[in-house]
């Protein structure tokens, strides 16, 4: 197994001092699991939980990057420093990726109050990347006020945000074919705020009505999920979006640092368990388990049941 290492004093000090190169370097090290996870967590835990995390998701073509770009302007005029983590899918064949989201945020490159990082999902499903908790913690340590997460945008499967983001913004746009169907299942449930972007297009009102109807169906009437209309290319409606987000942040006390850290810990834990289990098993002597494998092959033992049993054991350990 690859040797993990401690974070150097120099890197840590620079990271804490907000040095962008240090942050940038450390993010990749976290993506590559180069640091010893318990050690790095102990080093940073006193410094995390301050940064608000806002997630943006929605099917491809709704203008997520463009909306984030406009949202950055909004945050900057409130004089907060903002980091963007934009996730793009990797090629299933080569593992490589073309990370293109920052194209649409190019206007902010000269602003020292904006940090934009493109991240490959490296095959991870769920809309984010495996190392997302660690990345967010690092940005947090480096002292950024707000993190905007942009999911892959595969639509329904972008449910990772629930674990990670304080506020989840689900974006829709008219004219994407089967309009609302695209976000019907799963992703609808996670929204704290809905956005209908490209609201100047024909059919925008129809998209609004469809969305409203779906919200009316699912919601308890006291906790209505708001719908904000935006034209991200023109910056229209973005201040309203920010107002809705700010309102919810306060109402739900998501500014609670402990709650935030716990949220991220859940993901961090899941990643570490998964990573270690996989490596552990892979490095074990295969012949030790040959009987189990035979049963699995013959179907005497069900793979999913076996794994579920293991997870149950884990839950017991955690419960104690």
């Amino acid at each position: 197994m690859k040797q993990q290492k401690s974070i150097s004093e120099k890197l840590f000090a620079k990271l804490q001092a907000g040095d962008v190169s240090a942050l940038s370097y450390a993010i990749r090290a976290i993506e590559n699991s180069e640091f010893e996870s318990a050690e790095i967590y102990n080093r940073i835990k006193a410094d995390i939980g301050r940064t608000a995390v806002i997630g943006f998701t929605g099917p491809p073509g709704v203008g997520k990057s463009t909306l984030i770009n406009a949202y950055i302007d909004c945050i900057r005029s409130a004089d907060q420093r903002v980091a963007v983590v934009a996730i793009d899918p990797s090629s299933p064949i080569s593992g490589g990726a073309i990370l293109g989201d920052r194209l649409r945020m190019a206007a902010h490159i000269d602003d020292p109050g904006v940090f934009i990082r493109s991240v490959s999902n490296r095959g991870h499903l769920g809309g984010l990347c495996a190392a997302i908790s660690g990345i967010i913690n690092l940005i947090d340590v480096a002292g950024w006020d707000v993190i905007l997460l942009e999911t892959v945008g595969a639509g329904q499967s972008d449910t990772d945000l629930t674990d990670i983001a304080d506020i989840k913004v689900v974006i829709q746009a008219p004219g994407l074919g089967d309009d609302i169907q695209a976000i019907k299942a799963g992703i609808l449930e996670i929204a704290d705020v809905f956005v209908v972007n490209k609201a100047d297009m024909p059919l925008a009102d129809r998209a609004m009505r469809q969305l409203q109807a779906m919200i009316d169906l699912r919601d308890d009437k006291n906790n209505r999920v708001p719908i904000v209309k935006t034209v991200a290319t023109e910056g229209v409606g973005v201040d309203l979006l920010k107002a809705e987000i700010d309102l919810r942040s306060q109402k739900w006390k998501v500014v609670d640092r402990q709650a935030r850290v716990k949220k991220r810990m859940h993901r961090l834990f899941a990643r570490e368990v998964g990573r270690l289990m996989e490596r552990k098993l892979a490095s074990m002597n295969q012949s030790e388990f040959s009987q189990v494998y035979e049963k699995l092959i013959l179907g005497d033992l069900k793979l999913n049941l076996l794994v579920e049993r293991m997870v149950e054991e884990l839950q017991e350990i955690l419960g104690d």
Binding site: Y25, I27, R28, G100
Partner: protein
């Protein structure tokens, strides 16, 4: 564990971009696709980037290799980019240039710190191999910078 695993876990991060005035991007788009298909993480920008933007992106994205395409005369300002990279503490980043660079101006680029100039007709494998090994050396330099006293 294995060399291959180490490589897999730290794919080269490459910035493919164009500075200056020309916008012909057919070549840079093809190279971006090649590098992606070779397992690299490629940040691709539209043409007409400023030198400051290239430096800023390289810093924020932890870029190992900047690949610049120049088909007109924009390579004439690459030495200015090299100086800025050094002044900004990004001297670990390796720079390669592809496109049409007159024979008598190649040396000027190499002297300014450019690692490699690829002329038209360079084969895919040559580009990929060079970028890979340059990325490894960039990563090594960064590791030295951040992890050693």
């Amino acid at each position: 564990m294995h060399e291959s695993e180490v490589q897999m876990e730290s794919p080269p991060r490459v910035l493919i971009t164009k500075i200056g005035l020309d916008g012909h991007d057919r070549g840079s788009r093809i190279v971006a696709a090649y590098l992606r298909d070779a397992g690299m993480e490629v940040i691709y920008t539209p043409p007409w980037q400023t030198i400051d933007a290239v430096v800023g992106i390289s810093r924020q994205e932890d870029i190992d290799i900047i690949g610049l395409s120049s088909l007109a005369t924009d390579h004439l300002i690459i030495p200015e980019l090299m100086t800025t990279l050094t002044n900004e503490g990004l001297d670990a980043v390796r720079v390669v240039v592809g496109g049409i660079i007159p024979q008598n101006e190649i040396q000027k680029l190499l002297d300014s710190g450019v690692s490699k100039v690829f002329g038209p007709g360079t084969l895919r494998e040559e580009i990929i191999d060079n970028v890979k090994s340059l990325a490894l050396s960039a990563q090594k330099l960064k590791r030295q910078k951040w992890e050693e006293a």
